[in-house]
């Protein structure tokens, strides 16, 4: 896949983390997935259509999602309650919006669907495009110096 279709997602994820959460998200090694399975425990999904079509997923393990919720909203939750799910959906929406802006600057116009969020490990997902799926892991520091990962998975054609 041409890097011009990957870079907007990277820039979007890092910009949103920096702006909304004041966190530096460090990208790890991308992996290619040949199965549509959620990378984490809670996953926001957004379809993209326009000059290209694709699917964007933002996925966290439970601890990472709870940390993001606390940082974003200021409240604490000890499990994946509806408020946390809503926050992950909105974060997906915002990252998608920022990615669409980056794509527009590169001459690719995209529109987004309504985001949805699924909760559960190894949840199967049908991407509207053919596999493979590119998974970009972004590491970020949580309270005690530990690290959590946000997975930005997408397929695009």
């Amino acid at each position: 896949m041409d890097v011009k279709y990957i870079n907007p997602f990277i820039a979007a994820a890092q910009t949103v983390f920096k702006s909304m959460l004041a966190i530096d998200a460090k990208m790890g090694k991308p992996i290619i997935k040949n199965k549509g399975v959620a990378s984490g425990d809670v996953t926001g999904i957004m379809g993209l259509v326009g000059d290209r079509k694709g699917t964007l997923c933002i996925s966290f393990h439970e601890r990472g999602a709870l940390f993001v919720f606390k940082t974003l909203v200021g409240d604490e939750c000890d499990k994946l309650c509806p408020e946390v799910v809503d926050a992950i959906g909105e974060l997906t929406n915002i990252i998608s919006g920022q990615a669409r802006k980056e794509f527009e600057q590169a001459g690719v116009n995209l529109s987004a669907a309504i985001p949805m969020v699924v909760v559960g490990k190894n949840t199967e997902m049908n991407f509207i495009t053919a596999i493979p799926i590119i998974s970009l892991p972004f590491s970020f520091s949580v309270n005690n110096g530990d690290h959590e990962t946000m997975y930005l998975d997408f397929s695009f054609e």
Binding site: D86, I94, R100, K101, A112
Partner: protein, 121 residues
């Protein structure tokens, strides 16, 4: 008493974020979960400004603006769109409907407050 701002968004997280930022700066806040809810709540206490999302169920941000501008009492109330949509065509649609300004998410709290201060004085 501080000025009262209505935040309209179908995401509770966004309402909470905006509300937290505004209350910290001394504003009173009324929350509404979509355009329809906002129009209902407008008839309650006096509102000095509306900050609204664009894409919402029941009544979206554009519909809300049209509804507000159609009411003589709220014809001149400032309305700021706070949305992930950054396309010029969307902005133009908002402007034509009567939006005062447009902030694209992601936003920093200080950026939101700067816009409010500029609009409300």
């Amino acid at each position: 008493m501080g000025k009262c701002i209505m935040t309209v968004d179908d995401s509770a997280s966004v309402r909470q974020m905006v509300s937290f930022t505004l209350k910290g700066a001394g504003y009173e806040v009324v929350e509404a979960c979509d355009g329809s809810d906002a129009l209902t709540k407008l008839s309650g206490k006096p509102i000095n400004m509306i900050i609204t999302d664009l894409n919402m169920p029941n009544l979206d941000g554009i519909g809300l603006i049209r509804g507000v501008r159609g009411n003589a009492s709220y014809k001149f109330i400032p309305i700021i769109m706070l949305t992930t949509e950054s396309q010029d065509s969307k902005k133009q649609e908002g402007k034509s409907a009567g939006a005062t300004g447009w902030i694209v998410k992601p936003f920093k709290p200080e950026q939101l407050l700067a816009v409010i201060k500029r609009v409300l004085g």
